[in-house]
Symmetry: C2
C-alpha cells in the first residue's frame, strides 16, 4: 500500500521507517519548500499545483502536522481515505473547538475564557486571577503565539504581542507534572493505550518524556484511558491521538491539549514499547490489527535540540538508541532524539543525566518522582 503523508518532517520520516517493514511505500507532500524527511518520494508543492499528482500516487492519506487548511483536507477526502479525518484536524487546530469538545465529554480542563479584544482579555485576567496563559486559538505550537500574564495591567501588551483576533485565556494550574496519554483506534473501533509519559518542557519545548512513570496510580492511567477513549469515539477517529494533561497534587488530571497524530512524547515507544506509535498508527489507518502497547522496560526519550553534540559519545551509553532526523543545526530546532532504557527507574534517571551532560545546552532533568 502506498501511503500519502501531508508534511515531510521527522514525524513523516519515522512513519516511513516503521512502514517499510509492513510493505508500505511513502509519498510526502511538502508545502513548506523545506522538506527534511530524507526518505520516500518527496513532492515539494509550494505552488499548490501537485495535489492531483500526489493523490494519483497514493492509496490513503495521513499527515504529520495538523495545521493544515481544513478545506484542503476535505477536498482530499473526496478522492482518497484520510485518517485521521478532517473533522479531527478541524477540532485539534482550534483551541476553542478543542475546549468545547473536552467540556462536552466532561473531560476536566483548566478554567478558561475566550476573548476577542484587549479589553476582554484584561477582564478575563481579572476574573480568572493571575497568572494566566493567553494563547491564540489557532496555529500556535511549541510555545509560539502565547504569553503568560501576571498582572491585568499587562493584558494590552500581551494582546499586541500575540497579535491574533481570538485568544483563549487559561487559569494557571498548580500541577505536579505534565503528562501525556497516547492511544490508537483502529478502523474497527478497537482502542489500545500506551502507558502515560511524564514530560519535561523547557521554554515550551519538550525535552524529556519518561514512561512508564514509577509512581503512577493505576486508577490515574485508567482515568486518562477513559478521557482519550471518549475523544476517539466521539470523533470516530482512526490512528494515533495524543492528549497532553496536567496532573495536580491530588493526582487528578486536567486536559491541556491534544494532537491528532504521532507525538514527540511517544518517541520512547520506538525502542521502549512492544509496538511503536508509528507502527501502530500505520496499522490502524490500514485496518491491520493493532500491536501491543506495553513498555518493555523503563524508558526515557531525550530530545536533541539546536546542536547535535557528538553522536559517537551518545552511542557509548548502554542501551541508548539514537534517532537523527537529517536536519541542519539551528537554535531551538529538534534535530534528533535519544531513547534510553534501563531495568530500574533509578538506573534510567542516571543514564538520562549522563546523556544530558553530552548535549550542548541541555538542562539536567528533574522528574516529579525523584
Amino acid at each position: 500500500m502506498n501511503i500519502g503523508v501531508l508534511g515531510a518532517g521527522q514525524l513523516g520520516r519515522m512513519l516511513a521507517l516503521a512502514g517499510y517493514p509492513l510493505g508500505n511505500r511513502f509519498t510526502f507532500l511538502d508545502t513548506t519548500g523545506n522538506p527534511s524527511a530524507g526518505i520516500g518520494d518527496v513532492m515539494v508543492d509550494t505552488d499548490q499545483q501537485h495535489l492531483t499528482e500526489f493523490l494519483s500516487k497514493v492509496d490513503l492519506v495521513t499527515y504529520e502536522f495538523e495545521h493544515l487548511p481544513v478545506p484542503l483536507v476535505q477536498a482530499i477526502e473526496e478522492h482518497k481515505p484520510v485518517h485521521p479525518s478532517s473533522e479531527a484536524i478541524r477540532v485539534c487546530q482550534n483551541r476553542a473547538e478543542e475546549k468545547a469538545l473536552f467540556d462536552r465529554l466532561a473531560i476536566p480542563t483548566p478554567a478558561y475564557r475566550l476573548v476577542e479584544s484587549a479589553e476582554a482579555l484584561e477582564a478575563a485576567v481579572r476574573e480568572l486571577g493571575t497568572p494566566v496563559v493567553a494563547k491564540s486559538v489557532t496555529d500556535g505550537y511549541d510555545g509560539k503565539g502565547q504569553a503568560v500574564i501576571k498582572d491585568p495591567a499587562n493584558a494590552a501588551e500581551a494582546w499586541r504581542s500575540i497579535n491574533h483576533p481570538r485568544l483563549i485565556v487559561e487559569a494557571f494550574v498548580d500541577f505536579v507534572r505534565e503528562v501525556s496519554i497516547i492511544a490508537v483506534r483502529g478502523r474497527d473501533g478497537q482502542v489500545v493505550f500506551y502507558p502515560m509519559a511524564e514530560n519535561l518542557h523547557v521554554d515550551g519545548i519538550l525535552r524529556y518524556s519518561l514512561a512508564p512513570m514509577p509512581d503512577l496510580d493505576a486508577a490515574v492511567q485508567q482515568t486518562a484511558d477513559e478521557y482519550i477513549r471518549a475523544l476517539l469515539d466521539e470523533l470516530d477517529y482512526v490512528g494515533v491521538l495524543t492528549l497532553e494533561l496536567f496532573q495536580a497534587r491530588d493526582g487528578s488530571l486536567l486536559a491541556n491539549e491534544m494532537a491528532p497524530r504521532v507525538h514527540n512524547s511517544g518517541h520512547w515507544t520506538m525502542d521502549g514499547a512492544v509496538t511503536s506509535q508509528f507502527e501502530n498508527h500505520l496499522r490502524a489507518i490500514q485496518g491491520l490489527p493493532l500491536g501491543d502497547t506495553a513498555a518493555r522496560m523503563p524508558s526515557c526519550m531525550v530530545n536533541v535540540i539546536g546542536q547535535e553534540g557528538e553522536p559517537a559519545r551518545l552511542l557509548e551509553i548502554e542501551d541508548a538508541h539514537l534517532h537523527r532526523y537529517g536536519k541542519g543545526e539551528r537554535p531551538g530546532r529538534k534535530l534528533a532524539h535519544v531513547n534510553l532504557m534501563a531495568p530500574t527507574h533509578e538506573a534510567l534517571v542516571e543514564k538520562v543525566r549522563a546523556c544530558a551532560a553530552l548535549l550542548p545546552g541541555a538542562p539536567a532533568p528533574r522528574f516529579s518522582f525523584e
Copy 2:
C-alpha cells in the same frame, strides 16, 4: 555519512532502515537489473558504466552480497574505504580458501577433499566414506551448486550436474543441530558477539533461527566466540561476520562456512537484541562505538518464503514483528520474515508453530531442544 552498498536486495534495505536513524544516507549499486531495496538512491548498473558516479556519491562502501568480482572490489578500495575488505570477500567466496583459513586457525571443520575431475571426486567419496556433500568451490549459496553423494558410483553424475571445474567434497557430519555465531569487529579492533542461534533449514534454505538457545553450554558459546574472533583478527575485519557451524552430539563445533556480511540467521536481532546486526554493522564500518549484543528475551525469526500469506493474520500474534521486503511472490524466494519473542522458550515455540501454520508451505519447526 553517505554509505554505498554493493547489491540492492533485502539486506541492503534493512541496513538502510537501521542507518537513517544514525544520520546515514544510502546509495545502492545494483548489477542485476532487478533491485528490490525500495529505499535510498538505487543505481542500476548492468553495463558497468556507473561505478565512477556511484563512488562520487559515497563516503565509504559496504556490500550485502559477497559474490562480487574481487578485482572490482580492489579497484573500489583504491578510491574509497571498503568494509569488510576485498580480502574478506576473496576468502569467503571460495570454499577452498575458506577451509584453508579454518585449518590455519585450528578451527575444526568436517573432513574434506578438493577435486578437479570426476575421477578424483569418486576417489574422494571412497576415502571419506558415504554420504558426502560435493560443492563447487565458488558461487553456490542456499543449496545451489551442490549434491549429496550416497554411492561412489554416482560421483560422475554429480560431477556433471554441478558442472564446475573445482569441487570441495565434505564428509557428512552427524550433527545435532546447525548453529551460527555472528560477531562484529570495529575499526579499532573491538569485537562483540551475539548469542548463538539454532538454524533450521529446509531444502537448503533457512526457515527458522532461534536465539538464545535454552540448552547451550556457556563454554560452547565461548568456543564459538574464540573461533570467530580468530577469523576477524586474522582478516583485520571491520563489520559483521557470520560463521555457520554444526554442533555434534558431544557439544563440539565444526565450522561449515562463513559470510562476510549481515546474515539471515541474525535477523532476530532486529527485535530481539539490544542492538541489531544491521545497526552494529553500520556502527562498525563508520568507526562508531559498537552496541550491546545481548538478547532482550527468547526470540525466533521465521522466514516467509515463496508466498506471503496474510500479513494481517501474522500481526495478530502478540509480540510478532513483520519485516516485508517489497518483493513479488515466487517459489523459493525470501519475501519477508517475522520475528517472534516470548518470555519463555516454551511460549516461544508455541508462537513459532502458530506463525508457521499461517504461512503457506511452511513446515512445522522442530528444534533440537524440544
